[in-house]
């Protein structure tokens, strides 16, 4: 083993990072061999991002040391990391969307290289690895998958010895993910080590030779993923038993159409936004309808139109048989429709305001006792807040904290609770569990299922296919502003939906 340790590409030795008394990383040990695909597993907030930021030089560790090819190194900034041979593909891409592909890549290259040379090299490398790119394209015209290609090619041009990928498949279709894995396996064969950060267990098992599991900033286990089961990995990651969703009876015959969307078309708000093209569907009482799709394909525009943030011709959107396309958000709420938007902070809740004030923001005009004339009744708001936090198990630091002090999962529970407490007829949720820890996510999904059981019609827009397959009765897919027809969830599968995400609504020849 001593022989082996000399060959380690990277060794982390007791790395710690503190924010005040909070330990983001607590004595992390990790080692990677050349050519190894190593998984870093953990929930949101487990400390994965903090750790890789230190590896990439954007953060400095408070304790511990980093050994690179057996030598102690101090990675002061990302440029030094790149010089060592560490490349990084970020989860939220670090691209400049007003610049071209070549300009984006040039910014990460040594200063003496000409843009024209970089263009040639990037197109050559992208061809070689099956990641086709045009050097002159502007980033904001590219799909999310293509943007990731830019990041990967940018790393490959620097011929890294270690490539770090942060949640690379969260924005990809299953097919795109497979293509990515092929590239990663090829790189690994060529001797490039890969640190693969994810919370998706299936892909870690399929791709990675070793895994380090983080929980609350500490390493809880090192294992070989192929020897584990998804459940055993999940238990190590989450710490306690995973909440299983209770199955339910679906599809009563007397179900009534609550939400009806007919011939809905809308233009994008700005030059960068996707427009909606002739969208038709309906959602009935007691069912959960799911809309899958990669971010940026018109889901946010659809949500804006359904919630009343943007108005349309009255007949395009109908709630319970009444045309509401021209009505405001509040008028739609008064008809029993509730909306939970994607951004918790800044859209669904005002970050600096207390929870009780945030209650007033969407519930005023619905609860008669929330206001007296023009004045807000804070006492009633606080009582309502207490009821919501109790019923939906919202954990908070003090009695009435500002919304921004809650964790993602707890705030999402609060926002959902606020919307559905009034006994909604129709609930429209955009990305219900994005950035939410596994425990809260399971609870949120259970809440939606319980809600459907009470007879509410529920529309869930999500990028998380697993989630949609778990909770929805019928599924449709959005691609480039168009919506595929809904099909019963039981009669479709991930591959079929994945294909539709790329805009192929009817199975076409040559598609794999």
């Amino acid at each position: 083993m001593t022989q082996k340790s000399a060959e380690h590409l990277l060794q982390l030795d007791g790395i710690s990072k503190y924010y005040g008394s909070f330990k983001a990383n607590d004595r992390i040990d990790l080692s990677i061999m050349p050519g190894e695909i190593h998984a870093l597993l953990g929930e949101n907030g487990a400390g994965k991002s903090t750790l890789v930021k230190m590896l990439y030089g954007s953060l400095q560790p408070d304790e511990g040391q980093i050994l690179w090819q057996g030598q102690k190194v101090n990675i002061a900034n990302p440029a030094e990391a790149r010089t060592l041979g560490i490349g990084m593909v970020f989860q939220h891409f670090s691209l400049f969307d007003a610049l071209t592909v070549a300009e984006n890549i040039a910014l990460a290259m040594p200063k003496d290289q000409k843009l024209s040379d970089i263009s040639k090299r990037l197109e050559a490398v992208s061809q070689e690895y099956g990641l086709p790119l045009k050097a002159g394209a502007r980033i904001h015209d590219l799909s999310v998958g293509e943007r990731q290609r830019v990041e990967i090619v940018r790393c490959l041009l620097q011929e890294p010895k270690l490539l770090i990928l942060d949640e690379p498949t969260s924005v990809l279709t299953p097919q795109e993910s497979e293509d990515l894995f092929k590239v990663l396996r090829r790189l690994s064969d060529e001797g490039t080590a890969i640190l693969y950060i994810s919370h998706k267990l299936a892909e870690v098992q399929a791709l990675c030779q070793n895994a380090t599991i983080l929980r609350h900033g500490e390493v809880v286990a090192d294992c070989i993923p192929a020897n584990e089961t998804p459940l055993s990995l999940a238990k190590m990651m989450v710490g306690d038993d995973i909440h299983e969703i209770a199955p339910r009876a679906t599809g009563s015959d007397d179900a009534k159409v609550i939400l009806k969307v007919t011939g809905l078309s809308a233009t994008g708000l700005t030059g960068f936004e996707t427009s909606l093209k002739d969208v038709n569907f309906s959602v009935r009482t007691g069912e959960i309808a799911g809309i899958a799709g990669i971010a940026g394909n018109g889901q946010n525009e659809l949500f804006a139109v359904l919630s009343g943030e943007r108005t349309t011709a009255p007949d395009m959107v109908q709630i319970d048989g009444e045309p509401v396309g021209g009505l405001s958000i509040l008028q739609r709420r008064k008809k029993g429709a509730m909306f939970v938007s994607e951004e918790r902070l800044g859209h669904a809740a005002v970050p600096e305001m207390s929870l009780s004030d945030n209650v007033v923001l969407t519930r005023h005009g619905l609860e008669d006792d929330l206001q007296t004339g023009p004045f807000v009744r804070h006492g009633t708001a606080r009582k309502l807040k207490d009821k919501i936090t109790e019923m939906f198990d919202v954990r908070k630091g003090n009695d009435d904290p500002p919304a921004m002090s809650l964790s993602g999962g707890n705030l999402q529970k609060f926002v959902l609770g606020r919307e559905v407490m009034a006994g909604a007829k129709l609930v429209i949720v955009n990305q219900p569990t994005w950035g939410v820890d596994a425990g809260s996510a399971a609870q949120l999904r259970q809440n939606l299922i319980d809600l459907a059981a009470t007879g509410a019609a529920i529309l869930v827009i999500s990028q998380d296919l697993d989630e949609l397959f778990e909770i929805s009765d019928r599924l449709a897919t959005m691609a480039a502003g168009e919506l595929s027809p809904f099909v019963p969830t039981a009669k479709t599968n991930r591959n079929e939906v994945g294909l539709k995400m790329t805009g192929v609504f009817a199975p076409a020849e040559g598609a794999h």
Partner: protein
């Protein structure tokens, strides 16, 4: 020299300070920083240039002093908004108020004194060519510098690596930081370049345009420069066009007033503003092109994580 030449020369003289201040602010804003203190830095340049030229008897030393004072004033803005991450709008407004006050104090003893005028170029034969001669070869040196600045800034922004880096910071400072680009260093340099330009523009006012010192002699030109940058959608060539359009309409309406045209004078005085805004808005109809050129980080403070 005929009437036409005279009008063309006055247009250039009126446009030059706007152009210089705007091209400086354009670089600042391309880096993602909004400095509303252009007026303040400009008036500091005007008073500094006048006082030093008056004391030394050399307008060139005055111009250098104007540039230095403008840059120094902008450094205060840089320290507050970049190092201390203060609100850029509030700080910029304060800088304007501060500049107007300090310049009045500094220039108190110099009000009404004779200034040192920087002479126009005079090349034998060339300057004597009718029409073309005085306009191309007979202007003040700062005019030529201003045109050179537009070309240089265009070339810098779109043809050099440092310019690409500057634009990338204005587009997304988080990504730039993640790539290891020293965001704040670039912004400091951009802010100081903007300050130097505003100072030079002020110096042009007090040493070339009207060689004297009057309190608040910038008379809102800094604000017009700021507006030009936005309406020109952050493109140097359009700033040039906007500045000259504004200059031309300003001079044109003066002549119209002198001729006694039956239009209320208030309307004529407002005409340069209206015309410039209308034209620049009309040429910015391409939403995509505007989005590409708009610095997405404009006015947002950057605090690197630790």
């Amino acid at each position: 020299m005929g009437m036409t030449e005279a009008i063309l020369l006055t247009i250039a003289t009126a446009a030059t300070p706007l152009l210089i201040a705007a091209i400086g602010e354009l670089v600042v804003e391309r880096s993602g920083v909004l400095n509303l203190g252009v007026e303040g830095m400009m008036v500091m340049g005007a008073v500094g240039g006048f006082v030093i030229a008056n004391l030394t008897g050399n307008p060139w030393i005055g111009i250098l002093a104007a540039i230095a004072l403008g840059a120094l004033t902008s450094l205060l803005f840089g320290f507050l908004t970049l190092t201390l991450a203060a609100n850029q709008v509030a700080t910029g407004l304060s800088l304007t108020i501060l500049g107007l006050g300090v310049s009045s104090l500094m220039g108190e003893k110099f009000v009404g004194q004779a200034g040192e005028k920087m002479g126009n170029l005079d090349i034998p034969i060339l300057t004597d060519i009718p029409l073309v001669g005085p306009v191309i070869f007979g202007q003040d040196p700062i005019f030529y510098l201003s045109i050179l600045l537009v070309v240089a800034v265009s070339w810098f922004l779109f043809r050099t690596r440092a310019g690409l880096t500057l634009r990338s910071i204005g587009n997304n400072h988080h990504s730039a930081h993640a790539l290891g680009i020293p965001v704040l260093r670039y912004r400091y340099l951009a802010v100081m370049f903007g300050g130097a330009c505003a100072g030079l523009a002020g110096g042009h006012l007090s040493l070339v345009y009207t060689p004297q010192w009057v309190e608040n002699m910038t008379a809102g030109r800094g604000w017009i420069a700021l507006a030009l940058v936005v309406f020109a959608s952050w493109r140097p060539a359009r700033v040039l066009a906007g500045a000259y359009l504004f200059g031309a309409v300003s001079i044109g309406q003066l002549h119209a007033q002198a001729l006694g045209i039956a239009v209320p004078s208030q309307l004529l005085t407002a005409l340069p503003f209206l015309a410039t805004i209308v034209v620049l808005v009309l040429i910015s109809q391409n939403v995509r092109a505007t989005l590409i050129n708009t610095p997405a980080m404009l006015g947002r403070p950057f605090v690197p994580d630790r």
